[in-house]
Amino acid sequence: MFGTAIIVFREILEAAIIIGIVSAATRGVPGRTRWLVAGLLAGLVGSGIVAASTDVIASFASGVGQELFNASVLGIAVLMLAWHNVWMASHGAELAKKARMLATNISEGRSECSILMVVVGLAVLREGSETVLFLYGIAASEGGGARAMLFGGLVGALAGVAVGYTIYAGLLRIPMRWFFAATGALVLLLAAGMASTAAHFLIQADLIPALASPLWDTSSALPENGIAGVLLHSLIGYDARPAGMQVVFYVAVLFAISLGMKLAGKPRKTIQIKGAI
């Protein structure tokens, strides 16, 4: 039972951390909760569908369909998070100033919320489908231990959700002055980490070269399956033995989004000046 709890906890944790950060990052956006729940439900339904079609997905692209699927899901999430940060770079100040106004730019808020929904949905989809498969395996295997193990799964899931919520609640305590800078930085690292993981899947599928594998090995100092390693992997994409190409993806996304945020932050000034005239 304990083993089951840990496995489910690890699968859920990554999704929970992503949801915790993204929820905090979209603080003050109107209608946010509804979209969040919609994303969560869509992700859960999707997990079931993906788990049920593992065979079909796996047989795509001569046996590497699973990697392609995971890389695509991650790629879309990276684009969404990039868009979120760029959007926030031009609207974050407004949100911070008048946390309650918002009725005025609901249409913009809506596009931001649909991004939130997609990111949450994809996070749940990817991690959830593996959990579903795992629990299905337990339920399908005979023996009296199945019920205890499913209970363990539930405990693990709740623990994962608790960590996600703790991150969310902790982020909300950051003073407003630094709040959007902090969540923006977290989303940025989250996106870079996802890009690195996407590269990892593409390397595993032999679609892109590894360049150097591994580029470094810190598995003895900070193992990826330890608590700190797992947390850092989810938060900033830590990899104890990354391939060179993963680092290339990581840095490229980090750089591209930062650039986008910088550019998006600038034009507002000119608009404000025009408005003043």
Binding site: A58, Q66, A82, F134, G137, Q204, P209, S219, R241
Partner: protein, 109 residues
Amino acid sequence: MKNISLILLLAPLLSSVASYAAEADFKLVIKDHRFQPAELNVPAGKKIKMSIENKDATPEEFESHSLNREKVISGNGTATIYVGPLEPGRYDFYGEFNKDTAQGVIVVK
């Protein structure tokens, strides 16, 4: 954004570089939540293509921290995983869904 699309454009170009080393094929079977063979000998410095056939009805997840690989293999399904080129040494792997029994090691010589 521009950089991302640039990378996406470059990816297929770069992938042609990947085929520099001829790959070697190896086969693993999962049965009764165990890997067969539990010890797989492969050559060093070569890209390895592993086909893993799951003869159990329940899904399994092939996982290896030392190889930095993880992949779900559905019940009665087959999956392909590429690793390497590898340095000589021992690389352990396991089935995450049945960790008690599903253990194995790749020996690179």
